[in-house]
Symmetry: C2
Subunit: 306 residues, 2 copies
Amino acid sequence: MRFAKGHGTQNDFIVLPDFDDALGLTPELVQRLCDRRAGIGADGVLRVVPADAPSAVSALHDAGLAPVPPDADGLSPEWFMDYRNSDGSLAEMCGNGIRVFARYLLDHRLAGTLAFTVGTRAGWRKVRAEPDGSVTAEMGVPAILGQGRAVIGGLSCTGLRISLGNPHLAVLADGPVESYDLSAAPLLDPAEFPDGANVEVVRLTGDRRAEMRVYERGSGPTHSCGTGAVAAAVAAALAGASAGTLPALVPDSASGTWAMQVPGGKLDVTLVGTAALLGGPAVIVAEGELDPVWLSAVPAGSLPGR
Amino acid sequence: MRFAKGHGTQNDFIVLPDFDDALGLTPELVQRLCDRRAGIGADGVLRVVPADAPSAVSALHDAGLAPVPPDADGLSPEWFMDYRNSDGSLAEMCGNGIRVFARYLLDHRLAGTLAFTVGTRAGWRKVRAEPDGSVTAEMGVPAILGQGRAVIGGLSCTGLRISLGNPHLAVLADGPVESYDLSAAPLLDPAEFPDGANVEVVRLTGDRRAEMRVYERGSGPTHSCGTGAVAAAVAAALAGASAGTLPALVPDSASGTWAMQVPGGKLDVTLVGTAALLGGPAVIVAEGELDPVWLSAVPAGSLPGR
């Protein structure tokens, strides 16, 4: 079984090419692959499958999506990103993951053009290779849901509730983002966040520049979070708005590109009317072959190693 | 540049075959390779180099060692293990590392026989492939230096000071090993441990059976430590001895094989007279090629990702 390992701002992934749709990826295998000591180690797995393969057709159908992207030209191949979290569960989308997925297709000349569309469980998403080697991806429409609250390391904070498909609370920081204790999960109001949320702490550092830290629901403090960077940029762009005048969508007047510094590097978030783009480095570290003995082994008597 | 990733009881390593002694491995590259998010991720790097290659000859000479092992038959190739910690520093020996190193040579039919000798900066060490796929390695002579003390999570503890080339304090636990807080470095008496020490907490669980947890000097709480398992087995074997009657070496009466349960699996420690052997699983997870773009890239603006 071939694999690649890559990362976008230190959000890292194992890419599994599966052109014949034959891998039969189980949650157990995903967990073993993502184990940082007994496996390869990663935040998630990106299975690369043609969009017309049975598992992709089925996933697109289940998500209520068209079987080909709206901009299909009939010439370029279409690909589906089968994304799995490191615990083996399915996820709709991953902003850094889709950029690494695109880098893999580009490196292997599997995309017909430098800009193309990738199927995900959250919809068809455009991606684009930039001249500097970075990759930009369409992130969907940020929905502004109103104010929300969290207790972060004992400190009561107010922020913006924002949805990028997944729920976020983006808090504008009073001081350095390092002064907020994100080592443990922030406390949220279940009435505001029935499914929990990712929590971002954001500080403006210049003209359309900000730094942020993030606590990801289910993962803890991570080095980067694509949807979190978009939510943080939205909160930064609306920093002047009072609670009573919050728009439901990012207004045209807030359009522009934000340089967002995350612990793992720099991401560019472009807010264009109601849409959002995420740009930044997408790096393949290595490629190779999984050892057949390791693949066939039943894990025995070991504690989780992440 | 080719690589393999492997582990022994979740102590994990990047193997770099360097048959031409041409890699010019720098501390910076070791750090990048061992970075768990922006690189491959591992506890250390094992460079595989012929024992008659210039860098190996020089390292063996610097360590005051013979340029060929005492059991050389002139027919089998001789190999040198150039071990580096994840921070890029050199280390003399690594009990789990040498077992993974041997597994790599065996898988690639680079060892002439199932039992052979590997050069390390700590001396020539015999290794042996077992019928069950595990690998056993010679660990040198445990030296018993007397009693020592540590404060572990606020608790004052007494244990045995043992040297396996590197210093250890092995503490026999009063209760479950999980009840000791090894999340932070235990406090040691600098007079007893001028260079610090690895600290093991050991509990006897049956006839020549014990479980242990370890805090590794410079690494923190790890899933496994080969020299730590040997030190813990020595402490377990001498559990009945009073402070006044401690031998300097393991007595013949304490000979035998101890099953040591570590967080990452099970290790077998055999004490034979004055020597010690370490046996257990040695697994290659994957092999491949580092991406040339990644290899050539200068790390920029990222925090350490381990």
